[in-house]
């Protein structure tokens, strides 16, 4: 552990709790924690968001939630927010992808004629 690198300190700390994580996963999770710290991500938590944050951190470290062993049984079975909900922190590449939300359809535009800047060829009028 290099004392001059915050990522190394956080990484060594996470290694105690995530013993099954890979070296790359621990580094990614430590970098995520450092970024969350600068974003004040822990300021507006509730129970669901706290569990969501842990699940995201496990995702960043590449650890299965079943491999996380809390000292108190059943702690991880708490309520948690779904991934698509609003969250107070940013995501990392290691986390599972959010569900794809397609862009809503545009409102139909009434064609106005050949002077219409959106349809200079007048194709809508011909149709």
């Amino acid at each position: 552990m290099r004392s001059e690198d915050a990522v190394e300190i956080v990484r060594a700390t996470l290694a105690l709790a995530f013993p099954t994580a890979s070296a790359e996963g621990l580094t990614r999770a430590a970098e995520t924690v450092i970024r969350w710290g600068s974003e004040e991500a822990a300021q507006q938590l509730d129970e669901g968001l706290t569990t969501r944050m842990l699940l995201d951190l496990l995702g960043a470290a590449g650890v299965e939630p079943a491999d996380f062993r809390p000292a108190e049984r059943g702690w991880l079975a708490r309520r948690y927010e779904e991934a698509a909900e609003y969250r107070t922190w940013s995501r990392s590449q290691g986390m599972p992808r959010l569900p794809f939300l397609p862009r809503p359809l545009d409102e139909p535009i009434e064609p106005t004629g050949p002077d219409d800047p959106d349809d200079p060829g007048g194709s809508r009028l011909r149709a």
Partner: protein, 223 residues
């Protein structure tokens, strides 16, 4: 597990109250790591050296007079007794080296960072009140008991689960962790308030989750 066979308490105990004077001084001493390198050097070495020099000059002045101390210290007159010999040597060797080195470092730092702005202060107003605000301290964990959900969750994990309701030990290890985190490259160049804020935020997140498994890295390393 930190304390071994002691079972995890069912509820978080109330903190004992305000910290004693000795513990507050220790917390302030550990919080100095949020300061810049130059200010830390002044606190760690500059103030003790000036104090030692002052004591030496006081005793030398009582033995031989203030004028003779000044004239010996500035190498105008030769030393006449032991204390003046020490003052003469310090004035000859130590003072020019320290003042030269200190001033040289500050000037070189200002020249090299004349256009550098840390990301936390970029695009922001920098009022004089912010620059003159005194440095903060590492948080006392006691008020977290009645704090926001995130803070209560943190002390529930860090104090109750990991340290078995031992608030004193939990506070000690929290201060040690934040102090060492503030000494790292990521935080050392930040503004003193920003350094303390970011290091504590990151520390709260990581210790809250690792605490749930009953692990404390400070206990682990000191075992």
């Amino acid at each position: 597990m930190v304390v071994g066979p002691i079972p995890i308490p069912g509820h978080l105990k109330l903190p004992a109250g305000r910290q004693g004077v000795a513990r507050r001084i220790r917390r302030a001493w550990r919080s100095r790591k949020a300061l810049t390198g130059t200010t830390q050097w002044v606190v760690d070495w500059g103030i003790p050296m000036v104090t030692g020099l002052g004591v030496l000059c006081l005793f030398a002045a009582r033995a031989g007079g203030a004028s003779s101390v000044y004239r010996t210290f500035t190498l105008i007159d030769p030393p006449e007794h032991v204390l003046l010999w020490v003052a003469s040597l310090l004035g000859w060797l130590l003072v020019p080296a320290i003042i030269g080195g200190f001033a040289g470092h500050i000037i070189a730092q200002r020249i090299s960072s004349v256009k550098a702005i840390s990301t936390d202060s970029m695009f922001r107003r920098r009022p004089l009140s912010r620059r003159l605000r005194p440095p903060g301290l590492i948080d006392d964990l006691g008020p977290y008991f009645h704090g926001s959900y995130g803070r209560q969750e943190f002390v529930d994990s860090w104090v109750r689960v990991v340290h078995r309701n031992d608030w004193t030990l939990a506070q000690d290890h929290w201060e040690v962790y934040v102090r060492d985190l503030m000494s790292t490259q990521q935080y050392a160049h930040l503004d003193r308030h920003e350094c303390l804020r970011q290091a504590q935020n990151a520390g709260r997140i990581v210790l809250m989750f690792t605490g749930r498994t009953g692990d404390c890295i400070v206990c682990d390393r000191r075992r």
